[in-house]
C-alpha cells in the first residue's frame, strides 16, 4: 500500500527511512528463539536479569549470608499492581481496581517475532518486520470469548490509533507510542523491541481502561480478528480519491460529484485536502482579523475556564514530574552509596581478621562486621523503597502524558467549530449568489435558460451544503458533549488516582523508614558500650 505507513505527507521523509533501518536491524538479530522475559527493573543489578528482583546479587559475599531480607508487605492501596508483579513493568494508571468494573479486559503483549512479507524485492530481508502477540482476557460478552490472541505489528497500532482519533473526536484518547526513529548502530535491537513491547502493552491497557473506547469496534477488531487487521488505515479523503472511491464535495471544489454530508463534515486532513484546507484557513483568518464576528463562536465560558485550568495543571504536572524524577534518582543514589560503604567495611573486616596481631583488631573487625551488615541491609531497603516510589510517582508522569490527549480533544473541538463556521460562510455566500441570480434572471422575460439551469444547480448545492452544515453542527455539539464528559471523568479519576498516589507514597516512606530505623537501632545498641561510662 503506497504511503500507508506514513501519517501525512509532511511526515513522510522522517518515517520511510526509519522503516528501512528497522528491517536492517532485524537482519542482525534473530528474535525467533526468544520468548522474552521482561527486562528486570534497571534499578536492580543489571547482571542478573532473571533473578528475583528482591534478592539482588551485587553485594552478598558468602560469609555474610545472614543478611536476611524481608520484602516489604505493602497494603497496596494504589491499585496499580502488587510490587511483586514481575510479569510486566507497566501498570494501568487508574486507581479503579478491576473490581470497580463488573467487567474486565486484561491485555498482554508478548513474544515479539520477526516476520517477512512476501516480497518482490531483490534485496533479501528488506520486508521484515516485528509482530507481537496480543493476548486478551475478558468477561465482556460482546467479545464472544474469554481469552484470545492475535499477532499485530506496529503499523496496526498506528492504524488503530488513527481510526480511534477519527471516530472518537472530543474524547481524551490515550496517546499511542511514538514512531521513534531508530539508528541501527546506536540501539541494540533487542532493547528497542522490548521497549516497544512495553509501550504497546501500556497503550492497549490504557485504551481498555477508557470507559467508552474499551467498547469500540476498532479496539474489538484489533484484539480479536485473526490475520490481517480489517481496519483501513485512514479515512483520508484525498487518498480515497486516489483509490477512486471518493467523491469530493461539490461545494468545495466547485465542480464534480456530490459527496455524503458526513464525509463533508470530516475535518480537512493533512496537506492533501488542499482546497478545503484553504477555505478553512481563510475562514480562520476571517475569524481572527475580520471586522464581523463569525456566526458561531466558542461561547462556553465554563469551557474556557476549564481550558485555562488544564493549561495550568499541565504546567504544574510537568514541574512535579521533573522533581519526582530527581527525587527518585536521589533515593537511588543514597541506596547505592550505602551499598558501597557497606562493601568497603566488609573488605576492611576481612582484612583486619586476616592480618590480626592484637585482639583489639579482632574486636574492631567484629564491630565493623555488624556495621557493614546493617549498612548493606539499609542499602537494600533504600533501593526497595525506591522501586515502590517509582511506581507511585509514575501517576504524575501518566497524567502528564494524558494532557496530550486533552489537547487532542480540545483541538477536535476547535476544528469542528471551524468546519461549522466554514460551512456557514459557504452557505451564506451561496445564498447571496442564488439571490443575485434570481434577481438577474427575473429581469429577462420568459426566463434565461442558462441562468435558470444554474439557479437549479445552485439550489441543489445549497441543499447539500445545508445538510452538511447540520451534520457539522451535530458533530460539533457531540464533540462538545464529549469534552464535557471527559473533563468530568478526568477530574474524578485524577482526584482518586492522585490521592491514592499520595497515600501510597507516604505509607511506603513510613514503612521503610521504620525498617531502616530498626536496623540501625540494633547497631546503636550493640555499640553502646563504647560511650557508656564516660565522665
Amino acid at each position: 500500500m503506497m504511503g500507508s505507513e506514513n501519517e501525512g505527507f509532511e511526515e513522510a521523509p522522517l518515517h520511510s527511512p526509519k522503516e528501512k533501518s528497522e528491517s536492517t536491524l532485524l537482519l542482525h538479530h534473530d528474535l525467533n528463539s526468544v520468548d522474552r522475559h521482561p527486562l528486570s527493573d534497571p534499578l536492580l543489578s543489571p547482571t542478573s536479569p532473571n533473578s528475583n528482583p528482591h534478592h539482588p546479587h551485587d553485594i552478598e559475599p558468602p560469609a555474610y549470608a545472614d543478611v536476611i531480607f524481608t520484602p516489604f508487605d505493602s497494603s497496596d492501596i494504589n491499585g496499580s499492581g502488587s510490587p511483586l508483579d514481575t510479569s510486566s513493568s507497566s501498570s494501568s494508571p487508574h486507581g479503579f481496581s478491576p473490581s470497580n468494573y463488573s467487567d474486565y479486559i486484561k491485555i498482554t503483549v508478548s513474544n515479539p517475532q520477526k516476520e517477512q512479507e512476501p516480497s518482490n524485492s531483490l534485496v533479501p530481508g528488506s520486508n521484515t518486520f516485528v509482530t507481537y502477540l496480543v493476548t486478551t482476557r475478558t468477561n465482556i460478552p460482546d467479545f464472544g470469548g474469554s481469552e484470545f490472541s492475535v499477532r499485530r505489528r506496529f503499523r496496526d497500532i498506528v492504524t488503530l490509533s488513527d481510526r480511534l482519533a477519527e471516530s472518537y473526536r472530543g474524547f481524551f484518547i490515550p496517546p499511542r507510542p511514538d514512531k521513534s526513529v531508530v539508528e541501527s548502530q546506536v540501539m541494540q535491537k533487542q532493547e528497542f523491541v522490548e521497549q516497544r513491547r512495553v509501550a504497546l502493552e501500556k497503550y492497549l491497557r490504557r485504551l481498555a481502561a477508557h470507559p467508552v473506547i474499551r467498547k469500540s469496534d476498532e479496539l474489538k477488531m484489533f484484539l480479536q480478528v485473526q490475520g490481517k487487521l480489517p481496519l483501513l488505515p485512514t479515512t483520508d479523503v484525498a487518498s480515497r480519491m486516489l483509490d477512486g472511491a471518493v467523491k469530493i464535495p461539490k461545494q468545495l471544489l466547485g465542480d464534480g460529484p456530490a459527496v455524503a454530508p458526513h464525509e463533508a463534515a470530516q475535518p480537512a486532513k493533512g496537506g492533501r485536502d488542499l482546497l478545503r484546507l484553504f477555505k478553512e484557513l481563510k475562514q480562520s483568518v476571517a475569524n481572527d482579523w475580520g471586522s464581523s464576528k463569525p456566526p458561531v463562536v466558542e461561547e462556553d465560558k465554563e469551557f474556557m475556564e476549564k481550558k485555562d485550568r488544564m493549561q495550568e495543571l499541565e504546567l504544574q504536572l510537568s514541574n512535579a514530574s521533573q522533581q519526582a524524577e530527581a527525587l527518585v534518582k536521589a533515593q537511588q543514589d543514597m541506596g547505592e552509596t550505602m551499598g558501597e560503604l557497606g562493601l568497603a567495611f566488609i573488605k576492611l573486616t576481612k582484612f583486619e581478621n586476616e592480618e590480626a596481631v592484637f585482639n583489639a583488631q579482632r574486636v574492631r573487625a567484629a564491630d565493623m562486621k555488624n556495621l557493614a551488615t546493617a549498612t548493606v541491609k539499609a542499602s537494600r531497603f533504600y533501593r526497595e523503597l525506591n522501586l515502590h516510589t517509582v511506581k507511585h510517582l509514575d501517576t504524575l508522569h501518566e497524567y502528564l502524558g494524558l494532557m496530550m490527549s486533552v489537547h487532542g480533544a480540545f483541538a477536535d473541538r476547535s476544528s469542528a467549530l471551524l468546519t461549522v463556521q466554514t460551512l456557514l460562510s459557504e452557505l451564506s455566500s451561496l445564498q447571496s449568489r442564488s439571490e443575485k441570480l434570481e434577481v438577474a434572471s427575473s429581469k429577462i422575460f420568459g426566463g434565461d435558460k442558462t441562468r435558470i439551469r444554474k439557479l437549479e444547480e445552485l439550489q441543489e448545492t445549497i441543499k447539500v451544503t445545508e445538510d452538511a452544515k447540520n451534520v457539522a453542527i451535530r458533530q460539533y455539539e457531540w464533540i462538545k458533549e464529549n469534552n464535557r464528559n471527559e473533563l468530568e471523568r478526568l477530574d474524578v479519576e485524577r482526584k482518586a488516582d492522585f490521592l491514592n498516589m499520595l497515600k501510597g507514597f507516604v505509607v511506603n516512606q513510613v514503612g521503610y523508614a521504620e525498617k531502616i530505623a530498626n536496623v540501625w537501632g540494633k547497631v546503636a545498641e550493640e555499640t553502646s558500650n563504647y560511650v557508656r561510662g564516660n565522665s
Partner: protein, 403 residues
C-alpha cells in the same frame, strides 16, 4: 582514657579529681576560631587554653593565641625529637579557596586541632616535651619568631621524605653504597607490619571516600525532597479542594523531612566521616614513622659498613707503621661511638614502635566503636524522625479522601 567531649578528644582525668590526688594533669582546649587579616593573607586564629598542675609549667592556667602553622611547627618538632612514636596527625593543610573559611570547615579543623593537642598531652612521653610547653605558653609574637626561624632550619624537605618512602617501599638495593645488599630490615614481623599499614591506608581511604559520598547523598536527597515539596505545593494550589489540600500537606511535610536530612548530613560528617579521615591520617603518620625507622636502619648499616672499611684501613696503616695511625685510630673510635649511637637510636625506635602499635590498635578500636555508635545512632534517629513525620500525614490524607 575517658572521653569527655566529643567522640575523640582524649583528656587526662578531670582537674577537680586530680587536685585531691597529686596526679599530674594537663588539659588543653582549642576554641574560638577568629578570622584575622584580610584577602590572601587572612587566616584563622584559635584560643588555646591550658589547665595543668605540672611543675614544669608556669602557673595552673594559661591562654594563648595560635594559628594552624603553629600546630604544624609543633608536629614537626615532635616528629624530629620522638622518633619511633606515632605523632598524632594534623588536619589537612590547605583547602580549596572558597571552602577555607566556611563555618563547617573551620569547625572541623578546630575539633581536629583540639584532638591533636590533647592526644599529645595524654601521651606519656610526648607530654614531657619542651616544645609542647613552648607551644602552650609563649606569647603570640614569640611563637611567630620561633616558628619562622626554626621552620627554615629543621623542616624536612619534601624531597627527602619522598626518597625515604621510596626506600621503604622498594626492595632495590642501595645505589649510594654501591652494594648489592638491600639496606632494609628483613624481619618477618616488620615486613608484616609494613604491608599491614600500607594496605590499611588503602582500605580506610576507600571507606572514608564512601562515607564522604554518603554525606553528599544525604544533602542531595534533602535538596530534592525540598524541591519536590515545592512543586507538589504548586500542584496543590492548581488543583484546589481536598486534593489540593492533600498536595499542600504533602509538600509541607516533604520540606520538613528535607530539613532533617540536612541536619543529619552535618552530624554524619562530624561524627563518622571525620573520625574515619582521622584514622587515615593516623595511618599516614605511622607511615612517616616507618620511614624514620628505615632511615635509622640505613644509617646504622652505612656506619657499620664504613667502620669495616676503616678497620681494614687501620690494620693496613698499623702494618705499614704510618704516621697517620693515631689520626686513623681517633677517627675509628669516633665512628665506633657514632655507630653505637645509631644502633641505640634504631633499637629505641623499634622498641617504641612496638609499644605504639599496640596502643594504636587499642585506641582505634575505641575510636571506631564510638564512631560506629554515633553513625548508627544518627541513622536511627533520622529514620525514626522521618517515619514519624510521614506517619503524621496519614490521617490528614484519609480526611481528604473521605470528604
Amino acid at each position: 582514657m575517658a572521653s569527655s567531649r566529643g567522640p575523640q578528644s582524649p583528656r587526662s582525668p578531670h582537674p577537680s579529681l586530680s587536685l585531691a590526688s597529686s596526679q599530674p594533669y594537663l588539659s588543653v582546649s582549642v576554641t574560638d576560631p577568629v578570622k584575622m587579616g584580610t584577602g590572601v593573607q587572612a587566616y584563622i586564629s584559635y584560643r588555646v587554653i591550658t589547665k595543668t598542675n605540672m611543675p614544669q609549667y608556669q602557673g595552673s592556667e594559661k591562654i594563648v593565641i595560635r594559628r594552624y602553622s603553629d600546630f604544624v611547627w609543633l608536629y614537626d618538632r615532635l616528629f624530629e625529637k620522638y622518633k619511633g612514636i606515632f605523632i598524632p596527625p594534623l588536619p589537612e593543610k590547605s583547602a580549596v579557596e572558597k571552602f577555607r573559611f566556611s563555618a563547617e570547615f573551620i569547625e572541623m579543623r578546630r575539633r581536629a586541632l583540639d584532638v591533636f593537642v590533647n592526644r599529645i598531652a595524654s601521651h606519656q612521653e610526648l607530654r614531657q616535651s619542651e616544645d609542647l610547653r613552648t607551644f602552650l605558653q609563649v606569647d603570640e609574637e614569640v611563637m611567630e619568631r620561633i616558628r619562622s626561624y626554626e621552620t627554615g632550619l629543621f623542616k624536612k624537605k619534601p624531597a627527602d621524605l619522598i626518597q625515604i618512602f621510596k626506600d621503604v617501599q622498594s626492595k632495590v638495593s642501595d645505589v649510594v653504597l654501591g652494594k648489592e645488599k638491600p639496606v632494609e630490615e628483613s624481619s618477618e614481623d616488620y615486613e608484616k607490619l609494613k604491608h599491614y599499614i600500607f594496605e590499611l591506608e588503602n582500605h580506610l581511604a576507600e571507606a572514608q571516600k564512601q562515607a564522604y559520598r554518603l554525606v553528599k547523598r544525604h544533602r542531595e536527597l534533602g535538596s530534592s525532597l525540598s524541591d519536590f515539596g515545592k512543586a507538589v505545593k504548586l500542584l496543590g494550589a492548581c488543583e484546589g479542594d481536598n486534593l489540593g489540600k492533600a498536595f499542600s500537606e504533602l509538600g509541607a511535610k516533604s520540606e520538613a523531612v528535607s530539613l532533617k536530612l540536612q541536619k543529619e548530613a552535618h552530624e554524619l560528617l562530624m561524627n563518622f566521616e571525620e573520625p574515619l579521615k582521622d584514622y587515615v591520617r593516623a595511618v599516614q603518620s605511622i607511615k612517616a614513622t616507618i620511614a624514620e625507622r628505615a632511615a635509622a636502619f640505613k644509617q646504622q648499616c652505612e656506619l657499620a659498613e664504613t667502620i669495616k672499611l676503616k678497620e681494614i684501613n687501620l690494620d693496613k696503616l698499623m702494618l705499614t707503621r704510618s704516621d697517620r695511625v693515631r689520626e686513623a685510630e681517633l677517627e675509628y673510635k669516633e665512628l665506633k661511638r657514632e655507630s653505637e649511637e645509631a644502633t641505640e637510636r634504631f633499637e629505641m625506635i623499634v622498641r617504641l614502635m612496638n609499644e605504639e602499635i599496640e596502643r594504636f590498635q587499642e585506641q582505634k578500636t575505641l575510636d571506631m566503636g564510638i564512631a560506629f555508635h554515633e553513625f548508627a545512632k544518627g541513622q536511627a534517629r533520622l529514620a525514626t524522625a522521618v517515619a514519624d513525620a510521614w506517619r503524621s500525614l496519614l490521617p490528614k490524607l484519609e480526611a481528604c479522601s473521605t470528604t
